[in-house]
Symmetry: C2
Subunit: 410 residues, 2 copies
Amino acid sequence: MQAEIITTGTELLLGEIVNTNVAYLAQQLAQSGLDLYYQTTVGDNEDRIATALELAMQRADVVIITGGLGPTVDDVTRQAVARATGRELVFQPHLLEQIRCFFGKRGRQMAENNRQQAYVPDGAVVVENPVGTAPAFIVETENTVIVTLPGVPHEMRFLTETRVLPYLRQKLGITGVIKSRVLRTCSIGESRIDQLIGDLMRHSNPTVGLAAHPGQTDVRITAKADDERAADALIAVAETELRSRLGDFIYGTGQQTLEHLCIRLLRDEGKTIVLAETDPGALTRRLGSVEASTDAFQSSTLAPNGPTLLQRLGEHPRAGHGHSQDRLDIAVIVASKVRATHGADYGLAVISERATDTQQTYSASLALAAPDTVLRKSIRFRVHTPSSDNRLANAALDMLRRVLLGLPQT
Amino acid sequence: MQAEIITTGTELLLGEIVNTNVAYLAQQLAQSGLDLYYQTTVGDNEDRIATALELAMQRADVVIITGGLGPTVDDVTRQAVARATGRELVFQPHLLEQIRCFFGKRGRQMAENNRQQAYVPDGAVVVENPVGTAPAFIVETENTVIVTLPGVPHEMRFLTETRVLPYLRQKLGITGVIKSRVLRTCSIGESRIDQLIGDLMRHSNPTVGLAAHPGQTDVRITAKADDERAADALIAVAETELRSRLGDFIYGTGQQTLEHLCIRLLRDEGKTIVLAETDPGALTRRLGSVEASTDAFQSSTLAPNGPTLLQRLGEHPRAGHGHSQDRLDIAVIVASKVRATHGADYGLAVISERATDTQQTYSASLALAAPDTVLRKSIRFRVHTPSSDNRLANAALDMLRRVLLGLPQT
């Protein structure tokens, strides 16, 4: 089964916005087992939308069009679909009623131009839109199912998941499902994972694949089966085997991040943490980005470098020679000092330094002051890249995670 | 003059990455006065790339193709271009030499499969790529100029700006230029700006348009002229008039942000700032995201609410009734306390509170402790939205900007 996506909108062709709808729809199609060979974007122009649709109808079993269902004169997608499929636009009184209701519930008056949203091509299946004013619709021709959706991302996503995919699965007789589960690892490299689980990566159902991100690697299990339950069972077997081999390098699943996990662990125990870190403060940003993190994350002290950080914490800057041992000593003092000053349960210090030599090495010292110990670690990157800061933050967060879960440090 | 864009890559059609190259290229084409009517994405498949290109060649004066110039078996764009234009691929020894040099300079050995990157269609203009291994190339047919670029964003952008656009301008005899300049405003709403400059927005060259963002509005001046100098002159006249009307509501130009401006102003004066704010800590994230901000940005104390923030600063929580006056008092104490504790020049406190009533109102108190005064301000949003936090951070940053520049508060 082949699918195509046509996204419409002059703002896309002027580069005013990035087209995120395509990536979303492409993922959904892939998970439904539909192959996507072409994706086209056209402006708000009836001729060109119709031309793109006519071409897509020659090639694909399913065409999904987004955008251009609004109430303005620019919104010409319904006309283009009617033209390409040789149908008239027909007024649907019950759609007008729904649109009126949508405004009424929000205490607003429907404008006259919303009336055109109640027209759909003759014979189309109307897909009611409870989250917006633009009804979606599906037109079936001899060879192709054409799905027309609004371009507003949250409306498009809602309608895709609740209406369109179930419709397509039934219509096209897609009986199987494709499900994925992601296991998230940290403190272990892609090549080491490959050594540990390479044999599992050669299986065909479920498949196991890797995706490397800065400082962490995702292991994705994907299963095809007749129904969700059977797919889940296939995934569970693979997950058990992967967990037995990768152990505590797996810190979470799905979209979970290390910072979310650490904040949750701290909150569950009613514990608090304070940070002290040097430029660029990646850890502060990441812990601060977790919703309601401030229950656990009390404060952050920032500075361009270790000696200044000491000073800002009211300590005398130490005369060192910039050796990694000096930096590690500073990190230990800093972590203990911020913990004591703020009366927090944990104090975490990250002190990084970019060498000015031609190698552009990037070294860092981490220290975590816990109630009865201070852990320390040195890290060195051969080259500083934009991802080094996140790798470093991951190392610090994994140090914390392992303390909070009583796991050995790496 | 019409252009089309073809982006290639199976990862795009699986939804694994969002296609940001299109928005960039679309902007560049628009600024060069080229109309973009169609954009197509195809996978790493020689047949389909060739098919898409043949169609585009029938419609467009310029076709830009990105992706698929790498060294792996998946990289088939050069074969597809050769096929669609009816040419042979020809080995270019000097390209192989350049690729070898690229690796050599980085202390690496060229792999044998990089050899295929030295082939281009017969008669193509080679576009050397100093920032990557994939040379780009341009093929001219009777009616169309076909530009083939690598898909790696930074390589694609570099080659577009330094090589491709100058080439196209000359080749297509594009004499005019379109230039834009953005004036960034804050603390003033879109409708108020519209009242002040609406008459200028009806002019045709330069045009003046607005783009509203959370808590700030961009004013974009766009001029068409024969050359850059003439465009700059048109823009300068409009800018002078806009500045005389909008005054100090304009805080910057281009991509400049309030947080960049504030950090720069602080650093220029050798001054420091400390923050204390409640969840979600938007100001901490924004100041922390400025490169080298830690010269000026010393620390941030965070808490879920005002009373806890007071406690974390070692003050007794005040018994209040949750009135806005209580909250404003707390903000003033907090700002003064963090400033004194850290020996900083400025202490900025942001205390926000989401009402639990059905209205979901969102109120906040700001206080800025400066060397000889403490400024305060209350803010109330009728509805809490994801952008409220940024609006609030903008209000706090503008308070600071106005103090640093000696401007009156709004």
